[in-house]
């Protein structure tokens, strides 16, 4: 077979799995709750920063709006976090240790410190019970913790074995931090007096530009592992997020030129919606990448082959010499129809293969072997 010879010259990009079953366990988190938590935490932190700035520059309308948004978002994010636990009544166990190796532990402590300060600030904004000085000090303290609060969530999801999340560990804190600025700037612009909203617009637009720039480099760097970001439900969310954010940024930029309440509200809400869609998209992409063994096996296998060629020795986990490369080349040549809907066809192929093996017919493809479309 001529085609098989040609294939054998160039190592085929195929991989094997156990009947197409996932290697990893997908996150058990509820996508809405955890995506919502990332969004609300980002919104809370970004708003607290804006509130601190507004306080220091005497923009009382902007200060009031952002303090209340920050407090509300913090409360809701706490609720989402606790509700998503398998045992919500045991939330307090989070506070029995402080573990730098656990971003969730670090984040819980951050959120607790931030939350108590922002609650004090918002109470001062809403009533005279809290002295203005205390309210201001708490607000500035929350502003100091806020940058960490909006970026730690990037570390939280990157510190997993989920292929898309982990491979993106360099970019995630930047993307989530920028997304937080976009959401907070947007909602602040939408809810504060037009005359005071200039910094909010700038922060919102800056957030969108930074987020999309980093996302662009991320997708180029990740190669095949970036596929789940562009496919299926995750792809739809992220594409929608991108265009919603762009439209929102354009509206806010227009409002910066000729101030308009309508533009501020429309643009600001679009930025917040874009941020929420983006978070949900990344949560779904992570789940999709964990469910498909290809995104686990192929990057690890390719590392191994590179290393074998470079002579570091055996694969990390496998000590015996691997003659797998040649074997894979000849085996893979047998089945070469391109896949259209990767997941479904893959499983159908597995079932076919099982049936054929059982029937004892002639074939050469090893079971559980999958091919990538050329």
């Amino acid at each position: 077979m001529k085609s098989s010879r040609e294939r054998a010259m160039v190592p085929p990009a195929d991989f094997r799995s156990y009947y197409g079953r996932p290697v990893l366990k997908a996150p058990v988190w509820n996508a809405q709750e955890i995506g919502g938590y990332f969004f609300l935490g980002g919104l809370a932190g970004g708003s607290a920063l804006l509130a601190a700035g507004a306080d220091l520059t005497g923009r009382t309308g902007l200060r009031r709006a952002t303090r209340l948004i920050a407090a509300g978002a913090t409360g809701l994010s706490y609720a989402a976090l606790i509700h998503d636990l398998g045992r919500p009544s045991r939330f307090i166990h989070m506070l029995r240790v402080i573990k730098p190796t656990s971003p969730m532990s670090v984040g819980t402590w951050l959120l607790s410190g931030f939350g108590s300060m922002i609650a004090l600030t918002a109470a001062g904004e809403a009533s005279a019970v809290v002295p203005p000085r205390l309210s201001r000090a708490a607000g500035l303290g929350a502003g100091l913790l806020a940058p960490a609060l909006v970026t730690y969530t990037g570390v939280l999801i990157a510190d997993t074995a989920v292929p898309v999340w982990h491979e993106a560990h360099r970019e995630m804190p930047y993307i989530f931090g920028a997304s937080a600025l976009a959401a907070a700037g947007g909602l602040a612009a939408a809810t504060s007096p037009t005359a005071e909203a200039a910094p909010a617009r700038a922060i919102g637009v800056l957030g969108v530009v930074a987020e999309q720039a980093v996302e662009h480099t991320l997708r180029r760097r990740l190669g095949i592992v970036a596929e789940p970001l562009t496919q299926g439900r995750a792809g739809r969310f992220i594409t929608a997020a991108r265009w919603t954010s762009r439209a929102g940024a354009a509206l806010l930029a227009a409002s910066a030129v000729r101030r308009s309440r309508t533009l501020d509200v429309a643009g600001g809400l679009a930025l917040a919606a874009g941020s929420l869609l983006m978070r949900l998209g990344y949560v779904h992409a992570g789940t999709a990448s964990a469910q498909d063994p290809r995104y686990t096996v192929e990057p690890q296998r390719n590392n191994g082959l590179d290393v074998a060629a470079g002579g570091r020795g055996a694969l990390g986990g496998v000590q015996a010499a691997q003659a797998g490369l040649d074997a894979r080349g000849s085996d893979a040549a047998v089945r070469d129809h391109p896949r259209q809907a990767p997941d479904r066809v893959e499983r159908a192929e597995d079932r076919d293969a099982v049936a054929r093996h059982r029937a004892g017919q002639e074939h050469g493809a090893a079971q559980g072997r999958h091919q990538r479309p050329a």
């Binding site: 094997r16 156990y18 009947y19 079953r21 290697v23 990893l24 366990k25 996150p27 988190w29 970004g46 920063l49 804006l50 700035g53 636990l85 398998g86 045991r90 166990h93 989070m94 240790v97 573990k99 190796t101 656990s102 969730m104 532990s105 940058p147 960490a148 909006v150 970026t151 990037g154 570390v155 990157a158 510190d159 997993t160 999340w165 982990h166 560990h169 970019e171 804190p173 989530f176 931090g177 937080a180 600025l181 200039a198 910094p199 700038a202 957030g207 964990a290 096996v297 055996a314 990390g316 986990g317 496998v318 000590q319 691997q322 597995d350 004892g360 050469g364 090893a366 079971q367 559980g368």
Partner: protein, 253 residues
Amino acid sequence: MTSPRMGFFTDTSVCIGCKACEVACKEWNAIPDDGQSLLGMSYDNTGGLGADTWRHVAFIEKPVTADGRTELRWLMSSDVCKHCTHAACLDVCPTGALVRTEFGTVVVQEDICNGCGYCVPACPYGVIDQRKDDGRVWKCTMCYDRQLGGQEPACAMACPTKSIQFGPLDELRERAAERVAEVPDARLYGADPDDGVGGAGAFFLLLDEPEVYGLPPDPVVTTRDLPRMWRHAAIAAAGVAVAVVGSFLGSRR
């Protein structure tokens, strides 16, 4: 530690796929029934490790052609929690529910776990999982209770062919090094202390590539990259602060 580090050496070349380990594990640990389903892919109707499956026997029907005839070659392997030297589940657990025992194994304290689920996607082998109706996570304890009583784990005791061997990890590694030289096509998986998880406390002799058994070919503990992640987060946080300060300085009333 008073005890040497204990481990499992699962020699899949002598596994006969009897599933006695699965049954013994469920019985001893009183693991709840997780339903019966026919997966229709092989004699494996368990599918994989999970909250209610701490030993899982994989069946791989592999076609082999010899003398012009193609026949099935069966690979069977009993999978289990790897009890990693560098355990991601333990690292990321925010409550301290996951601990390292005096036997060098990794165990969930069920009275501490609050079901945050962080360990589930952190495990590079897809072992630990959440029990839905219970909310907490569960996995192999290497029969911590039996070990405390000087007994070997239930799966190793039930294994009729000594495919599952339990003992001090050092001894098991020596034994495995001898065995791998005897068996054609054999390779050790998880026995190398220099691999991405610092070597597994439960390692395997395999007859094909790891992914064929549903194992990741070159797993790495995710927290290896955590210092770099925190560094990026710090830079990103500084960037966020600068962006906000700049926006206020650059905005006129």
